[in-house]
């Protein structure tokens, strides 16, 4: 079963992040590297990416004749932004939760676990069997 694990963060995080002590930043980067390596080694990683911040976010809608209509972000009404995601392929929902919990222990400022929320969504598969 495939799951998408979504790491969300408040908009303020992107600016705060730059004021973290260097060792805290390093600790978090190292943690993410280790975490991704673990998922690779267990044969469960499908893909993972971090995303650029809200300042670079644009919203696109189809305008006249389908031409792109681009609006600048960030958006005052939005509090939480998608910061990055993993797609994993694992044996059970429980395993997906365990992996998400591990991601949530990524160290934040001061090197303590951030316990950030990780949204877990099952990826829709193809048709089931009519046995």
């Amino acid at each position: 079963m495939k799951y998408m694990l979504m790491m969300t963060a408040p908009r303020t995080m992107w600016t705060e992040y730059f004021s973290w002590p260097v060792e805290d930043l390093k600790a978090q980067v190292a943690f993410m590297h280790r975490f991704n390596d673990e998922l690779k080694a267990s044969g469960e990683l499908v893909s993972t990416h971090g995303l650029s911040g809200p300042e670079e976010t644009r919203v696109v809608r189809a305008g006249k004749n389908g031409a792109p209509e681009v609006t600048d972000g960030p958006f005052p009404e939005t509090k939480e932004f998608l910061a990055g995601f993993w797609i994993i392929d694992c044996e059970s929902k429980e395993r997906a939760y365990a992996i998400a919990a591990r991601a949530s222990t990524a160290p934040g400022k001061g090197g303590v676990p951030s316990n950030m929320p990780i949204e877990v969504r099952e990826v829709l598969s193809k048709a089931p069997v009519d046995l």
Binding site: G43, V46, D89, L124, K126, P128, V129
Partner: protein, 418 residues
């Protein structure tokens, strides 16, 4: 043992020889993990060379020879790496190492032994599936990765972990002891069933790569049946696969939409596969002991033998689900029986049976429960309740075509209400 039908050519031939070659190499060198890599390399070499230079007179011997050479290279490298005295191996002439390629040896039960190994209970299901497809099915890592829609590196890792589990669990390369034979065979059949499901479930539209998994599962189950012709459950599983796969072309529409059994175009069903499945089933049922796969195959056969949906012998299906329920403690079976009860005794009886399933924690919140309930409410003429159930089920399923189907059901009833 009778020889397998000589239909194999080209890629088929390679895939059928793969487990026999691997068996011979593991016997000689012991190291399963390295032997498996060596056989993969030999298969690749054959896939490159044979189309150009022709299939050798003794393809099995050729493959064993090439794989054994790779093994020797591997062992030499290993020895060098460990800075041990490599004299013992390097001084051995190649001829000595690869001279007796086991050509005259009977094929023994290597395919079976390998299946027992790859489907060992110590492995996780995804690992067992991946290793079985590679070591017994002769598929490449890239092909397996493609079939499961994961990157090749991820699948390679899964296979290598599976091999490590086998190594640490110390499973010997031989048939399991008689005392545990039945249980271990059960694990093998379950893995083959899962491979079939994976392929069958996703055999939609142009996605031929994945439907090949269903064919692969049928091929491997056929091989097991060939070696254990007296085993009723092996025959039952093969029959179940054939009888289910026979409906492949009819079960999805041009846009990949799900077409339920009752509205499928039955002229699209594969009559040949149905005939083979029914014959297999009849033969095995006449032998006495009945298992869960045989019963599921029997249910599939009743559906397949009805020329029109309304000709379906639901009373017989109901009786078969009753037997199946007594044999396997699976709440899904009860769900299916509820449909059969509704078809025979009316929807009210079916709904009553569903109430007893509600309490089962294994089904709590499962979309299938709401989908069946919606269907029975619709049969009973309670459109509002049916719509609510279909919507609930649509929101919960993790299958895109099923979600679309359930949403359409709710929309259709909603339009009728207005």
């Amino acid at each position: 043992m009778t020889p397998e039908p000589a239909k194999a050519t080209g890629e088929n031939l390679l895939r059928e020889l793969a487990p026999q070659v691997l068996g011979a190499v593991v016997r000689r060198f012991g190291d399963f993990s390295a032997a498996e890599d060596a056989v993969q390399e030999a298969l690749l070499a054959a896939a490159m060379q044979w189309p150009r230079e022709g299939v050798p007179a003794n393809p099995r011997g050729w493959l064993i020879h090439v794989a054994a050479r790779r093994m020797t290279d591997h062992l030499r490298a290993e020895l060098a790496r460990r800075r041990r005295e490599a004299v013992a191996v390097t001084e051995m002439a190649d001829e000595q190492i690869v001279s007796s390629p086991d050509e005259a040896a009977p094929e023994r039960d290597d395919t079976l032994i390998l299946l027992f190994m790859c489907c060992h209970p110590a492995l996780t299901r995804p690992s067992a599936i991946a290793l079985t497809l590679r070591a017994v099915g002769g598929l490449t890592t890239a092909e397996i990765a493609n079939a499961f829609l994961v990157p090749e590196a991820t699948m390679a890792q899964r296979i290598s972990r599976a091999k490590k589990s086998i190594k640490t669990s110390g499973v010997p390369f031989r048939m399991p002891l008689q005392a545990e034979r039945a249980e271990r065979l059960g694990a093998v059949l379950h893995v083959l069933y899962l491979i079939f499901n994976e392929g069958y479930v996703s055999s939609i539209g142009p996605d031929l790569q994945r439907s090949d998994l269903a064919n692969e599962a049928i091929r491997l189950t056929r091989a097991v049946h060939h070696r254990l012709p007296e085993d009723g459950e092996v025959a039952g599983l093969l029959a179940l696969m054939l009888l289910t796969d026979a409906r492949r072309k009819a079960r999805t529409g041009p846009d990949g939409e799900l077409i339920p059994l009752t509205t499928q175009d039955r002229t699209l069903w594969d009559r040949e596969a149905i005939a083979e499945g029914v014959a297999l089933l009849k033969e095995t049922l006449s032998k006495g002991s009945v298992g869960a796969y045989q019963l599921q195959a029997a249910i599939a056969a009743v559906h397949d033998e009805a020329a029109r949906a309304e000709d379906t012998d639901w009373a017989q299906i109901l009786a078969l689900y009753g037997l199946l329920e007594r044999m396997s403690d699976n709440p899904m079976v009860k769900l299916n029986r509820a449909v059969a009860v509704a078809m025979v005794h009316g929807p009210a009886e079916g709904l009553k049976l569903l109430e007893t399933v509600d309490a089962d924690p294994r089904l709590a919140g499962h979309y299938r429960l709401d989908a069946v309930r919606g269907h029975l409410y619709e049969m009973a003429g309670d459109r509002e309740a049916a719509i609510a159930c279909y919507r609930k089920a649509a929101a919960r399923t993790a299958s895109a075509p099923e979600r679309d189907y359930l949403t359409a059901q709710a929309a259709r009833l909603g339009a009728e209400c207005r």
